[in-house]
Protein backbone atom coordinates (compact mmCIF):
# COMPACT_ATOMS: atom_id res chain seq x y z
CA UNK A 1 0.00 0.00 0.00
CA UNK A 2 1.35 3.42 -0.98
CA UNK A 3 0.92 6.80 0.67
CA UNK A 4 1.75 10.27 -0.60
CA UNK A 5 3.45 12.89 1.55
CA UNK A 6 4.59 16.41 0.80
CA UNK A 7 8.21 17.21 1.65
CA UNK A 8 9.09 20.85 2.39
CA UNK A 9 12.59 21.88 1.33
CA UNK A 10 14.58 24.98 2.26
CA UNK A 11 17.82 26.75 1.36
CA UNK A 12 20.30 24.49 -0.51
CA UNK A 13 17.77 21.65 -0.77
CA UNK A 14 15.07 23.94 -2.15
CA UNK A 15 17.48 25.28 -4.76
CA UNK A 16 18.60 21.77 -5.73
CA UNK A 17 14.98 20.67 -6.11
CA UNK A 18 13.98 23.80 -7.97
CA UNK A 19 10.86 23.85 -5.78
CA UNK A 20 10.04 24.47 -2.14
CA UNK A 21 8.04 21.26 -1.83
CA UNK A 22 7.87 17.89 -3.59
CA UNK A 23 5.32 15.13 -3.32
CA UNK A 24 6.69 11.63 -2.87
CA UNK A 25 5.02 8.22 -2.83
CA UNK A 26 6.18 5.81 -0.16
CA UNK A 27 5.13 2.48 1.36
CA UNK A 28 2.67 2.90 4.24
CA UNK A 29 4.48 2.83 7.57
CA UNK A 30 7.64 4.54 6.30
CA UNK A 31 9.34 6.51 9.10
CA UNK A 32 10.10 10.23 8.74
CA UNK A 33 13.84 9.57 8.70
CA UNK A 34 13.54 7.39 5.59
CA UNK A 35 11.96 10.08 3.43
CA UNK A 36 15.38 11.37 2.37
CA UNK A 37 15.99 8.28 0.25
CA UNK A 38 12.83 8.99 -1.75
CA UNK A 39 13.74 12.57 -2.70
CA UNK A 40 14.75 13.46 -6.26
CA UNK A 41 18.36 12.80 -7.26
CA UNK A 42 19.42 16.48 -7.35
CA UNK A 43 18.31 16.88 -3.74
CA UNK A 44 20.02 13.72 -2.51
CA UNK A 45 23.12 14.84 -4.36
CA UNK A 46 23.49 17.76 -1.97
CA UNK A 47 23.76 15.34 0.91
CA UNK A 48 21.95 15.42 4.22
CA UNK A 49 24.16 17.29 6.68
CA UNK A 50 24.79 16.28 10.27
CA UNK A 51 22.38 18.07 12.54
CA UNK A 52 19.41 18.04 10.19
CA UNK A 53 16.09 17.54 11.96
CA UNK A 54 12.52 16.91 10.89
CA UNK A 55 9.13 18.48 11.36
CA UNK A 56 5.81 16.79 10.75
CA UNK A 57 2.78 18.95 9.99
CA UNK A 58 4.61 22.03 11.36
CA UNK A 59 5.77 20.47 14.62
CA UNK A 60 9.16 19.05 15.51
CA UNK A 61 9.30 15.29 15.22
CA UNK A 62 11.81 12.44 15.45
CA UNK A 63 13.13 10.30 12.58
CA UNK A 64 11.24 7.27 13.90
CA UNK A 65 7.79 8.85 13.62
CA UNK A 66 5.52 7.06 11.16
CA UNK A 67 4.28 8.90 8.08
CA UNK A 68 0.61 8.86 7.11
CA UNK A 69 -1.02 9.66 3.83
CA UNK A 70 -1.26 13.43 3.30
CA UNK A 71 1.38 14.33 5.87
CA UNK A 72 3.65 17.29 5.33
CA UNK A 73 7.19 16.55 6.42
CA UNK A 74 10.00 19.12 6.47
CA UNK A 75 13.73 18.50 6.28
CA UNK A 76 15.10 21.15 8.64
CA UNK A 77 18.75 21.83 7.84
CA UNK A 78 21.08 23.28 10.50
CA UNK A 79 19.72 26.76 11.09
CA UNK A 80 21.51 30.10 10.69
CA UNK A 81 19.00 32.81 11.51
CA UNK A 82 19.76 35.92 13.52
Amino acid sequence: EEITVTVRLFASLREAAGADRVDVSLPAGTPVGAVWGHLPDPVRGVGLPDGARYALNHEWTLPGATLRDGDEVAVVLPVSGG
Partner: protein
Protein backbone atom coordinates in the same frame (compact mmCIF):
# COMPACT_ATOMS: atom_id res chain seq x y z
CA UNK B 1 4.65 40.19 19.52
CA UNK B 2 6.22 37.60 17.24
CA UNK B 3 6.93 38.72 13.70
CA UNK B 4 8.47 37.32 10.53
CA UNK B 5 8.46 40.08 7.96
CA UNK B 6 9.99 41.19 4.67
CA UNK B 7 9.78 44.80 5.88
CA UNK B 8 12.36 46.80 7.86
CA UNK B 9 12.27 46.02 11.57
CA UNK B 10 10.87 48.58 13.99
CA UNK B 11 12.71 48.24 17.29
CA UNK B 12 10.56 50.93 18.91
CA UNK B 13 7.45 48.85 18.19
CA UNK B 14 9.03 45.88 19.96
CA UNK B 15 9.92 48.02 22.97
CA UNK B 16 6.35 49.34 23.05
CA UNK B 17 5.00 45.79 22.82
CA UNK B 18 6.77 44.75 26.05
CA UNK B 19 6.00 47.94 28.00
CA UNK B 20 4.56 47.32 31.49
CA UNK B 21 4.20 49.92 34.26
CA UNK B 22 5.65 47.44 36.78
CA UNK B 23 8.70 46.72 34.63
CA UNK B 24 11.62 49.06 35.20
CA UNK B 25 14.02 47.81 32.54
CA UNK B 26 13.88 46.87 28.89
CA UNK B 27 16.81 45.23 27.13
CA UNK B 28 16.91 44.94 23.38
CA UNK B 29 19.16 43.23 20.90
CA UNK B 30 19.37 44.24 17.26
CA UNK B 31 21.37 42.06 14.90
CA UNK B 32 22.65 43.73 11.76
CA UNK B 33 24.36 42.44 8.65
CA UNK B 34 28.11 42.98 8.92
CA UNK B 35 30.35 44.05 6.05
CA UNK B 36 32.80 41.33 7.29
CA UNK B 37 35.89 43.44 6.52
CA UNK B 38 38.16 40.46 5.75
CA UNK B 39 38.73 38.73 2.45
CA UNK B 40 35.28 39.12 0.92
CA UNK B 41 32.92 42.00 1.23
CA UNK B 42 29.28 41.12 1.89
CA UNK B 43 26.63 42.87 -0.20
CA UNK B 44 23.54 41.56 1.53
CA UNK B 45 22.08 38.62 3.38
CA UNK B 46 18.97 36.76 2.31
CA UNK B 47 16.88 35.00 4.90
CA UNK B 48 14.52 32.12 4.28
CA UNK B 49 12.21 30.73 6.95
CA UNK B 50 10.09 27.66 7.38
CA UNK B 51 7.44 30.15 8.30
CA UNK B 52 4.83 28.00 10.03
CA UNK B 53 7.38 26.36 12.33
CA UNK B 54 9.54 29.47 12.73
CA UNK B 55 6.62 31.47 14.07
CA UNK B 56 5.73 28.68 16.49
CA UNK B 57 9.35 28.31 17.59
CA UNK B 58 9.82 32.04 18.15
CA UNK B 59 6.62 32.11 20.18
CA UNK B 60 7.85 29.14 22.24
CA UNK B 61 11.22 30.82 22.83
CA UNK B 62 9.54 34.05 23.94
CA UNK B 63 7.26 32.11 26.29
CA UNK B 64 10.24 30.27 27.79
CA UNK B 65 12.13 33.52 28.39
CA UNK B 66 9.02 35.10 29.90
CA UNK B 67 8.49 32.19 32.29
CA UNK B 68 12.15 31.89 33.33
CA UNK B 69 12.74 35.57 34.01
CA UNK B 70 9.32 37.06 34.74
CA UNK B 71 9.73 39.07 31.56
CA UNK B 72 7.69 40.20 28.59
CA UNK B 73 9.43 39.35 25.32
CA UNK B 74 8.92 40.34 21.69
CA UNK B 75 10.83 38.96 18.71
CA UNK B 76 10.99 40.02 15.06
CA UNK B 77 13.04 38.55 12.21
CA UNK B 78 13.36 39.66 8.61
CA UNK B 79 12.87 37.35 5.67
CA UNK B 80 14.21 38.12 2.20
CA UNK B 81 17.11 40.43 1.36
CA UNK B 82 18.70 42.53 4.10
CA UNK B 83 21.42 45.03 3.15
CA UNK B 84 24.65 45.52 5.11
CA UNK B 85 23.98 47.59 8.21
CA UNK B 86 20.26 46.86 8.29
CA UNK B 87 18.72 44.93 11.17
CA UNK B 88 17.86 41.30 10.43
CA UNK B 89 16.62 40.43 13.91
CA UNK B 90 15.38 42.34 16.94
CA UNK B 91 14.45 41.16 20.44
CA UNK B 92 13.01 43.25 23.27
CA UNK B 93 12.56 42.03 26.86
CA UNK B 94 11.17 43.98 29.79
CA UNK B 95 11.27 42.90 33.42
CA UNK B 96 11.09 44.34 36.90
CA UNK B 97 14.83 44.92 37.00
CA UNK B 98 17.66 45.04 34.54
CA UNK B 99 19.27 41.72 35.44
CA UNK B 100 16.17 39.82 34.37
CA UNK B 101 15.60 42.02 31.33
CA UNK B 102 19.14 41.37 30.05
CA UNK B 103 18.88 37.66 30.83
CA UNK B 104 15.56 37.26 29.02
CA UNK B 105 16.82 39.17 25.99
CA UNK B 106 20.00 37.12 25.85
CA UNK B 107 18.08 33.87 26.28
CA UNK B 108 15.76 34.72 23.40
CA UNK B 109 18.44 35.71 20.89
CA UNK B 110 20.62 32.72 21.81
CA UNK B 111 17.69 30.34 21.46
CA UNK B 112 16.56 31.95 18.22
CA UNK B 113 19.98 31.44 16.67
CA UNK B 114 20.15 27.85 17.88
CA UNK B 115 16.62 26.68 17.15
CA UNK B 116 14.52 28.87 14.85
CA UNK B 117 14.14 27.27 11.39
CA UNK B 118 15.55 30.24 9.48
CA UNK B 119 18.48 30.17 7.05
CA UNK B 120 20.87 32.83 5.86
CA UNK B 121 22.35 33.09 2.41
CA UNK B 122 25.37 35.36 2.09
CA UNK B 123 25.51 37.38 -1.13
CA UNK B 124 29.05 38.67 -1.60
CA UNK B 125 29.96 41.88 -3.36
CA UNK B 126 31.73 39.76 -6.04
CA UNK B 127 28.41 38.15 -6.95
CA UNK B 128 28.84 34.75 -5.31
CA UNK B 129 26.31 33.39 -2.87
CA UNK B 130 26.39 30.70 -0.20
CA UNK B 131 23.79 29.21 2.09
CA UNK B 132 24.69 28.69 5.71
CA UNK B 133 22.72 25.50 6.25
CA UNK B 134 25.27 22.76 6.89
CA UNK B 135 25.35 21.68 3.24
CA UNK B 136 28.94 21.44 2.10
CA UNK B 137 29.17 22.75 -1.42
CA UNK B 138 29.20 26.42 -2.39
CA UNK B 139 26.95 27.15 -5.34
CA UNK B 140 29.62 27.62 -8.04
CA UNK B 141 30.70 23.99 -7.51
CA UNK B 142 27.16 22.68 -7.85
CA UNK B 143 27.46 21.91 -11.56
CA UNK B 144 30.31 19.47 -10.94
CA UNK B 145 28.71 17.80 -7.95
CA UNK B 146 27.73 14.14 -8.37
CA UNK B 147 24.02 13.58 -8.46
Amino acid sequence: MILLTPDPLDAAALVAAVADPDHGGTATFIGTTRREGGAREVAELRYEAYEELAEAELAAIAAEAEARYGARVAVAHRVGAVAVGEPSVAVAASAGHRREAFAACRYAIDALKARAPIWKQTAYADGETGWIDGCAAPRPAAAGRPA
